[in-house]
Amino acid sequence: MAKTHTLTKKNLKDIKPLLLIMYIYGCYSQKDIESKIPEMTIKKYEKELTILKSIFERDVFNNESVKNKKRPKFSYDRYDNIANFLIKAYKIKNYTHDNMRIYNDILRILYFIDKNIKDIDLKINSPIDLLADTFDKDIFYNGDANKYLTIKNCLKELIDIGFVSYNEQNEKYSITYNFLDDLEKEEINSLMQGLYFFRGFSPLSSQSIFAIETLKEYSNFKKDYENIEDYVDVEDVYLFKDNHFNNILNDNDIYIIIQAINQNKMLEVEYIHNIKNETIITINKCIPLKIFTDYKYGRQYLLCFNEDKKTPTNIFINKINNIKIINTSFKKEDYSSTIELLNKSYSLNQLYDLKDPLKAEPILIEVIFDFNENVCKNLELNERVKLCENTKYTVELTKRQGKIEDISPTQFKYSIEILSPTEIIPYIRSFAPYGNVVESEYHNLKIKIDEDWSNLKKAYGII
């Protein structure tokens, strides 16, 4: 049986490294996990696994013993598990139950005041007095000598989260205007459906999930409250290709980065490096410019300049241990050339390998798709034409840019101009054996790709 205190005392920062490793790699033994998280002791490892088991359901967290080896790993099928189960990590942070009760009571009382503003006893002249009066009557709060301070502190937190508003002129606290009250039930359903869709791939998807949960609870509440029948539940209807649930674990860091970029403020980043099985933590002050990522692998990087303002760096957001905004401003205009470069190529590392990236000219890459008899053995001409058409259609749908030209019914050419040609290697390789890059004096893609195939031939015992 899971113990209450074990479940509730964890917070995300403690379990994020283990969750990421379990999600991305899985692990095979304590020794294996130790190589990725050096501070993980056997005792800690067993304890963390027990916690993960108690939080996540069996169908996503596989901790079964296979061939006498434990291989715990998150494994799910995108057709079965549409909802991001990792969101549970956000909900287990420990707080005292007492506060939870106080916040709810304050909200209820403010809600009550809003509804009964005319009937309130005039002797009680401020919401805080009314709250204090309630505290006196309720045995739960009995004996709270600092009730005014408790109430004021809680009100401040409720203002920060956006549940309560404070009017300085008349010193009035009230429930924040809830625009959901102005929406028809169909509109709440439409909003929920829009959020369901963006939940699958948008940045900060935790907020999409939280907003959906709020809307769901609100709908149920309104349904009963107003006796409205026939609220249509919004079905989970969307699936996404390349859906990386693990990014939700970075949302808190991402949110801080977003705020820093929007406010032109610098960041202090504590970053974990693993060098030769040694973990090194460095702390840097940096100027945040962009977050760049890809849909395919879902990795998120912070593009920033170091404090010296000369060197651009990519920080792998997964490896951030701690991050905070510092009160030093910067001017975005000073970095416009770097931002402009990003529009030409998305691989800064490769760009900075160039002597003068700002003056670099895009390089033309040509790929010939050929469905000849040698490649398409046992296929009749009409079948080869059909295959050519289908492949052209796929290239059309998936190409980032560039153009397609017909050469013959069984051949076409795809051309693209790009600053850092190696970026496109996986894409070209994925069309083997039909797509072949044309040799050029301006790039060495053909040599590189041929090298890959040669390595594979050796691995498969073909040569």
Binding site: L7, D32, K91, G162, F163, G200, Y238, I257, L456, Y460
Partner: protein
């Protein structure tokens, strides 16, 4: 404000739901309260744990009286129950997030003009998170979402919710095909190229059909055919029995690239003779995508002889 905050904590919402549940007449006795708590609580499934949480003094919002263990509230001002509810509100970050999504034409199209404009007005004092100036997608195609298909998406959603079959015409690279009496399973969206597809099931020939929405026309919902199919179970049968089995060569960041490339498939991983292996269970109708994914990874992965798609990959490598 941290995103992992106390107002999104299970305890906060549990207490709110217990309060509101009482005033909405969901329970009157302790047993009913436990039952209700279990029903609303999607986090804790343990009976003993539920009792422990309910016995916690923090949740003594109620007095438990008489032999029937009737529940009554401690905090009570009037007999008008509706005024004692704990309001359900969006946080500032949730509002900022919605405001940010409203900057995206696709979100607005899904919501419709009236609702979008209404929300613009309601959220005018809220800051946008400004995603469009911050996030750069390395593999995103420079194209806009095709908003002309939104009406079809709404129509298809309706058929899915009502479990009604549909007819449509699908235009492919090789001509037009008429699909009759098929059932929607789900939409499949590819964010990188903003491609909307539908996964449908044809009960006649037990086939899963994947279509691009912009290529389908003449959609007709068979209103009278309300006998829905349990498409989920039928699709499940299309999962391959023999998985893709790959040995990973640890070059550059290949380990991470491979695991992430297949992270949304059902996978098993293991470590043998100093090598990492991954087994991927995919669906028959995804075979072409999986094949391309393997080829894209180049020499980072080598298929095992008993792997699915081994013969296909072997013959491609042979002629390269």
């Amino acid at each position: 404000m941290e995103l992992f905050n106390k107002f999104k904590n299970n305890d906060f919402t549990n207490i709110r739901q217990l309060i509101n549940g009482y005033y909405l007449g969901k329970y009157t006795t302790l047993d009913e309260m436990k039952e209700y708590f279990q029903e609303i609580n999607n986090f804790v499934k343990d009976d003993d744990l539920i009792s422990k949480l309910l016995d916690d003094k923090a949740i003594t919002i109620f007095k438990i009286e008489d032999t029937h263990e009737t529940v009554s509230p401690i905090l009570d001002y009037s007999s008008n129950y509706n005024e004692y509810l704990s309001p359900i509100l969006l946080t500032i970050t949730e509002k900022e997030y919605i405001k940010t999504l409203l900057e995206q034409p696709l979100f607005r199209a899904l919501l419709g003009d009236t609702l979008s404009n209404k929300l613009d007005k309601s959220l005018q004092d809220i800051n946008s998170l400004n995603f469009k100036d911050i996030f750069v997608y390395r593999d995103s195609l420079n194209r806009n979402d095709n908003l002309e298909i939104i009406d079809n998406i709404k129509l298809l959603t309706k058929s899915m919710i009502k479990k009604q079959s549909i007819d449509f015409v699908n235009t492919t690279a090789n001509g037009k095909y008429i699909s009759k009496d098929v059932h929607m399973y789900r939409f499949l969206y590819t964010p990188a190229n903003k491609l909307w597809q539908i996964i449908t099931y044809n009960k006649e020939d037990k086939r899963v059909i994947l279509c691009t929405i912009s290529k389908i026309s003449d959609i007709k919902i068979n209103e009278n055919n309300t006998k829905g199919l349990e498409t989920h179970e039928l699709i499940e049968k299309k999962k391959v029995k023999r998985p893709l089995k790959m040995k990973i060569n640890e070059i550059f960041n290949s380990l991470e690239r491979v695991f992430l490339a297949f992270s949304d498939y059902e996978v098993e991983t293991y470590y043998k003779n100093n090598n990492h292996f991954i087994e991927v269970y995919y669906y028959e109708f995804e075979e072409r995508k999986v094949l391309r994914d393997v080829l894209a990874l180049g020499d980072a992965v080598v298929l095992e002889k008993d792997s699915a798609l081994y013969d296909e990959i072997y013959s491609i490598v042979s002629i390269m």
